[in-house]
Amino acid sequence: MPASGELPASAREGLGDRPFGFYVHVPFCVTRCGYCDFNTYTATELGPGASRADYAETAIEEVRLARRVLGDAELPVETVFFGGGTPTLLPPGDLARILRAIGEEFGLAPGAEVTTEANPESVDPAYLEGLLAGGFTRVSFGMQSAREHVLTVLDRRHTAGRPAEAVREAHAAGFAHVNLDLIYSTPGEDDDDWRASLAAAIEAGPDHVSAYSLIVEEGTRLAARIRRGELPMPDDDVAADRYLIADAMLAEAGFSWYEVSNWATSEEARCRHNLLYWTGGDWWGVGPGAHGHVGGTRWWNVKHPAAYASRLATGSSPGHAREVLSEEDRRMERLMLELRLDSGFPLAEIAPSARTAVAQALGNGLLATGPFASGRAVLTLKGRLLADALIRDLT
């Protein structure tokens, strides 16, 4: 990774033809949840430029660097996503300043989608109004569960009723698009707990729900507790059951799936930023440990906020390493990402060597027959649960 952050020529090819977005990582949390392996820090002081108070300025430095690296290309920003960590630990004005800098350097496309993640307990009506005024169009709340005992295992700090309140506050502030994140198959959760969480989420009235099975990541406190036998390891069959429950209840409530773990009430409610990831778009990842992708080059920044800030302070790129994808890598990624979408993957682009596997998948009920007839590989409900196995078979 050159200190200038310069991208290889291959990446710059066709720049501007693909949709372009920004991901802004805010690496702060009040506490670290036991299951979380994201790049986040609970201390308020992390060194010059890296502490919460200085963070917006440092991030804006990287936005400017992005402009220098990408040159004069016309790159209106279609989507911006603030994630973390807990972006809403920063004052809304800081988030708005970073967004403004992105607008100043690149220009926001008309109707751009601007999302921030938020913990339900970290916002209030004034905060949400501040976000809307600052140009945000969408809020994504980490609800996870409506059951206190599940929230406790996950170390979440909000009360069970708070997410629904937060959704109401967001709507009241004027947000048309609100997402709730849910987690299933947490140790101690049963099917009814999960149904209750889904019902509460639906009742709160978001236009988008993401539901993830709990992944026990190595090195987390949760993994240690499971290893010590304090908590049972989440079971894949249980997770499969919960997924089926989620899909049924969400469908009943008017949500349709458009990606393995994502449901929305309408086309407009879908998260365009995530769709940009999944359809090979370009984005710049701002912040410590953030990943970016432009034209087949993926890179990621140094992880620690102090290292990140000091790189930017000396005018060099915070990029830590990158990989330039081979044609084969790109084909693999395309299949891997697009097959998870409701639009599926064109059959004509699947390698001839995988034709038997395609036929088998159809026979086993992993691929839907309707879209198949019109030339697309689209996952059935069963297929969504076995997507990784299918991807391995088809590549």
Partner: protein, 608 residues
């Protein structure tokens, strides 16, 4: 010059061997003898000088014997090294035949072990002069008085006759050499008779071809002379003749009582077999020395390369190993589950382990070996007889009788483990022959057991039930009728040949249940349900189900996850390539390895 090779007065020659258990310090004692007699300078000395193969040095065991000529006190001592393990009884007996005396070497901290006892009996029946020696007397745990008494009781001497040495410090080694000179009888032979020399070892050397070790009994052998192998009638010219001291020293000839080597340009040890008699073409002997036998495989196992592309390398490696291993037999074999491999015959379990380890280590091969199998004679109702060395050869028609090979086993153990040993032996269909106390707290237990029961993790079980204290030796002892059946293992209705086994009818159920359970753990869930069945013929005796996998998808796949996820999928794909397809079922290589390994080692692997 009286002791120059080829011109040594037999009266000055002492031929002896050392009988010892594998870690009782034979090689270290031999090292001291090499130093004391001056044939190896101190600075050239390296530990266990005579053990040539790396594998021997690492495992601390001697597989191939060798003879070293040592000058001592105006005499010539020929020290003939003997293999110390159960599988090589025949080779041991030939080495003993080449000697007049045997040093019985016993660890002063452990006492005598079963294999040593077996070899001691061989030496006694060959009428050798036995010199009892306790080694490692420098060890704090040594109990020389106790074990001297034990040995005295076994060979009928006084405890005070048992010499005490330390190969490590050298204490007592000089006295031992003197004792050999004074007490081991000199060889006796007819110098004018036609030449007769006993082959007691035959080793393939990359540069020299086969090096044959002989003990001249009558007459003499000379360089440039044409010799004849009396069992085959094959003739060869002696290109080189000499003695080992401890490196080869060529000479003109070897005379009565002498021990040395011949090189004839032969490329395969099969052409100079242990136990055969060498004589001269010009003046041939009429009768061969007695005791020649052909080593016969007792245990069979299929060896398959984990990577099917390695099959030619495996063939080449076996061809090379055979140059140096007259007992190794093999022929190509095909398994539906494992692909192309070889059916290999071995003298016993250790022999099998050594061959496998050498293939993996010296030839860099990764192998799967199928469950070991003995030789069954199956007599059909129509009188036809079928020899079965592989479960796949087991006939399905009307069987009148099945004969299985039996062994006489001798187990030595501290007496507190008698119960555990008897339980093990009874569980393996053993019949108690007798039991004797060697000393107050050590016991010798004798059983007849089916060989088929011993080759399947018996040794591991014995060691674990006696905390490593018991030792085992066995000798073939005829056949018995047995009620045996073939148990097949089916995956999705399809028999997997590699998992079939011939077992006693009473144990068929246990085997089937255990194998089905093991496979259920070892085979990952597939996209469809996979029934595992154990069956005798068409009758299913055990069943397990591998439920279909229902979830194989990572929930999250956002910007930062993409590279990680792609790499994970690629890794999983690599893993998939290493799967063997059994019908539609993907079976990991490790499942074959683990399912076919013995219980103890499988459990060990599972722990890792």
């Amino acid at each position: 010059m009286r002791i120059h090779p080829g011109q040594t007065d037999p009266a000055l020659i002492r031929n002896f061997c050392i009988i010892a258990h594998i870690d009782h310090g034979k090689s270290t004692l031999a090292d001291r003898m090499l130093q004391l007699t001056g044939v190896v300078e101190g600075r050239q000395m390296r530990a266990q000088y005579l053990d040539r193969m790396d594998i021997e040095r690492e495992r601390g065991i001697t597989i191939k014997s060798q003879a070293v000529r040592l000058p001592w006190d105006g005499h010539v001592l020929n020290m003939i090294d003997t293999p110390g393990h159960v599988d090589f009884t025949y080779e041991v007996s030939r080495s003993l035949e080449a000697c007049e005396g045997a040093v019985l070497l016993v660890d002063a901290a452990q006492g005598i072990e079963a294999q040593t006892l077996a070899n001691l009996y061989l030496a006694m029946s060959a009428d050798l002069h036995i010199i009892p020696v306790l080694n490692k007397i420098d060890l704090p745990a040594a109990q020389p008085d106790k074990y001297a008494e034990e040995i005295a009781g076994l060979i009928g001497c006084a405890p005070s006759d048992v010499l005490r040495v330390s190969g490590k410090t050298g204490v007592g080694v000089k006295e031992l050499l003197d004792h050999v000179v004074q007490n081991v009888p000199a060889p006796v032979g007819d110098a004018d008779a036609p030449a007769r020399a006993l082959i007691f070892d035959s080793v393939y050397d990359t540069y020299r071809g086969v090096v044959t070790y002989v003990r001249v009994v009558d007459g003499h052998l000379s360089k440039r002379e044409r010799t004849i192998m009396m069992s085959t009638g094959a003739t060869h010219e002696t290109l080189e003749i000499g003695v080992i001291s401890p490196d080869p020293v060529p000479s003109v000839s070897l005379g009565v009582g002498e021990v040395g080597y011949l090189i004839t340009g032969v490329k395969d040890v099969r052409q100079a077999r242990v136990g055969d008699t060498v004589t001269s073409v010009v003046k041939p002997a009429l009768t061969a020395l007695g005791g020649y036998d052909h080593p016969r495989p007792m245990v069979y196992s299929g060896l398959y390369p984990i990577d099917g592309d390695d099959y030619p390398e495996l063939r080449e490696a076996l061809d090379k190993l055979r140059l140096n291993d007259a007992a190794l037999a093999y022929e190509p074999e095909t398994s539906a589950a494992l692909g192309f491999g070889f059916r290999c015959g071995f003298l016993g379990l250790l022999h099998m382990e050594i061959v496998r380890e050498r293939l993996e280590r010296e030839f860099n091969l990764s192998l799967i070996s199928t469950a070991p199998n003995v030789i069954y004679r199956v007599v059909m109702e129509d009188g036809k007889e079928i020899v079965v060395t592989n479960p796949s050869e087991f006939p399905s028609g009307k069987i009148a009788e099945i004969h299985e090979p039996m062994v006489k086993a001798t187990l030595l153990s501290p007496s507190d483990h008698i119960g555990a040993i008897m339980e093990l032996c009874q569980g393996r269909r053993g019949a108690l022959l007798g039991m004797d106390y060697l000393s107050e707290d050590r016991v010798e237990i004798r059983y007849t057991l089916p060989l088929g029961e011993i080759i399947f993790d018996f040794f591991d079980q014995l060691k674990s039930r006696t905390r490593g204290y018991a030792s085992l030796d066995y000798d073939p002892s005829g056949e018995q009728d047995a009620d045996l059946v073939k148990v097949d293992i089916l995956l999705q209705g399809e028999a997997v040949d590699a998992f079939s086994a011939i077992v006693h009818r009473e144990k068929a159920y246990a085997y089937g249940v255990e194998m089905a359970k093991k496979l259920k753990e070892l085979i990952p869930r597939q996209q469809f349900e996979v029934p595992i069945q154990a069956a005798i013929g068409a009758r299913v005796i055990a069943r397990e189900n591998i439920r279909a996998i229902r979830k194989d998808v990572l929930a999250k796949c956002y910007g930062g996850d993409i590279s990680r996820k792609r790499k994970l999928l690629e890794k999983q794909k690599e893993g998939k390539k290493r799967m063997k397809m059994v019908g539609r079922v993907e079976v990991p290589q490790e499942a074959f390895v683990a399912a076919l390994s013995t219980e103890a080692s499988a459990a060990e692997k599972a722990k890792k």
